[in-house]
């Protein structure tokens, strides 16, 4: 008799611990947002990616459509090559435009896809040809300062 109540308590403890782990995984972590749906891979070249990191989100019209899977420096053209995996449910035209955007003023960077008007769609392994690099704050400031200096004094 004594042993069965003990078993019950220990069982409840183990169940509570595992439930806490599951709750952490689903509600706190991103396990529930890992899409099990199929994806296709595309890549794009950027002259400057700013602070973009692997696993950054890819959004179109604000909707999450994929993730950045890898970033490497292509030494033939000295540009950053960004590999992206996009959800198969979302098809984009061949002339889609890829921008590196920032969420908020100090937020993290993501890739925004703006679809073009081509009839053909991007396939696995294709390249997104039209890209726009990240906005680097220092460049902006120096441009602004130079243009100010060139202005004739009043």
């Amino acid at each position: 008799m004594e042993r069965t109540t003990l078993d019950l308590w220990v069982g409840m403890f183990v169940v509570a611990g595992i439930a806490a782990l599951v709750m952490l995984a689903m509600k706190v972590g991103n396990l529930s947002t890992y899409n099990v749906s199929e994806t296709y891979e595309v890549h794009a070249y950027f002259s400057n990616i700013g602070g973009l990191k692997p696993k950054a989100s890819i959004k179109s019209a604000g909707v999450l459509v994929g993730r950045v899977t890898g970033i490497t420096l292509d030494t033939e053209r000295y540009e950053a090559k960004v590999m992206m995996s996009v959800d198969k449910r979302y098809q984009f035209p061949k002339d889609t435009f890829a921008n590196i955007l920032t969420s908020g003023l100090l937020g993290e960077q993501y890739i925004g896809l703006a679809p073009g008007g081509d009839e053909e769609m991007l396939k696995n392994g294709d390249q997104v040809k039209m890209t726009q690099s990240a906005v680097v704050l220092e460049d902006l400031i120096s441009k602004f300062l130079y243009s100010k200096a060139e202005e004739p004094a009043k």
């Binding site: 042993r3 003990l6 078993d7 308590w9 220990v10 409840m12 403890f13 183990v14 509570a16 611990g17 595992i18 806490a20 782990l21 709750m23 952490l24 995984a25 509600k27 706190v28 972590g29 991103n30 396990l31 529930s32 947002t33 890992y34 696993k55 989100s57 100090l106």
Partner: protein, 262 residues
């Protein structure tokens, strides 16, 4: 000659420490060698799971709740200055899952369950119950020590997970329900920032390592204690002090390996 005496004392102390580390390592491998019976006769381990795991539940849950609530309050005060209160969920969850959950749960476990283990085994040794077992050809490591070891190793990750989960709700309670941070951004930013493998599984791994370290230290101190009332009390104190220091040291090493340099 006080100088020579001091030097001699330091030397003896260091040699003794190395000696003890060696014995503790041999003890650890003996536990692993004789742990077959703690799975074959699983009710022994269940009994220890009750006294280490279930009995630590209340302190872990209450401490987790309050730590989460404090994180919510302090995090809000700091994040408010930068206008990013919506990142409160990220701060609370990452702080708990990566660091505070495993470390604080292990510290509480060391003082709640580890000290009890040391005192119990030390007293068994002082009252010659362990010698009596050896006399009856019962291996005390297989019968007494190994089930306690496995109970500690199993219950530590579960307790740390409970601590983190309850702490997140504590942060939610203070941040969302009391202060009024937006509930949607609290959860959604948390979910997009906390990675299952990188953060949650590394936290579980940490607590697993801490659980092993704390139980081995507690069991060794008890098994190695001088069989007197004074010896047992000294061993209990050493368990809490040594295992707390070892937890914090291991935490630094593990954090540097898991999250450092990225």
């Amino acid at each position: 000659m006080p100088v020579a005496k001091t030097i001699r004392g330091i030397g003896r102390g260091s040699i003794d420490a190395v000696w003890r580390i060696g014995r503790a390592t041999r003890f650890f491998f003996l536990i692993l060698l004789y742990s077959g019976s703690s799975f074959r006769r699983f009710h022994l381990t269940i009994k220890e799971l009750f006294s280490t795991g279930v009995m630590s539940l209340i302190i872990i849950v209450v401490a987790g709740l309050f730590v989460g609530m404090v994180l919510g309050l302090q995090g809000y005060e700091t994040l408010k200055r930068y206008g990013s209160e919506s990142a409160l969920g990220v701060m609370v969850a990452l702080g708990l899952v990566r660091e505070l959950g495993p470390v604080v749960a292990a510290l509480l476990f060391a003082s709640r369950a580890g000290s009890a283990m040391t005192a119990e085994i030390g007293l068994m040794k002082a009252t010659e119950q362990i010698s009596a077992m050896e006399m009856m050809a019962v291996n005390p490591i297989a019968r007494i020590v190994a089930p306690r070891f496995w109970a500690g190793v199993i219950s530590m990750p579960l307790l740390a997970a409970l601590f983190s989960a309850v702490g997140v709700f504590g942060g939610y309670f203070v941040g969302v329900m009391q202060i009024g941070v937006d509930e949607g951004s609290f959860w959604s930013q948390m979910q997009s920032a906390v990675d299952f493998r990188e953060d949650i599984m590394n936290g579980v791994l940490k607590s697993f390592v801490f659980g092993t370290a704390v139980t081995v230290i507690a069991l060794f101190e008890g098994y190695d204690a001088p069989p007197t009332a004074e010896g047992v009390s000294g061993a209990t104190t050493r368990t809490v002090v040594t295992s707390s220091l070892v937890i914090l040291m291991l935490d630094f090493i593990l954090t540097a390996m898991m999250f450092g340099g990225k």
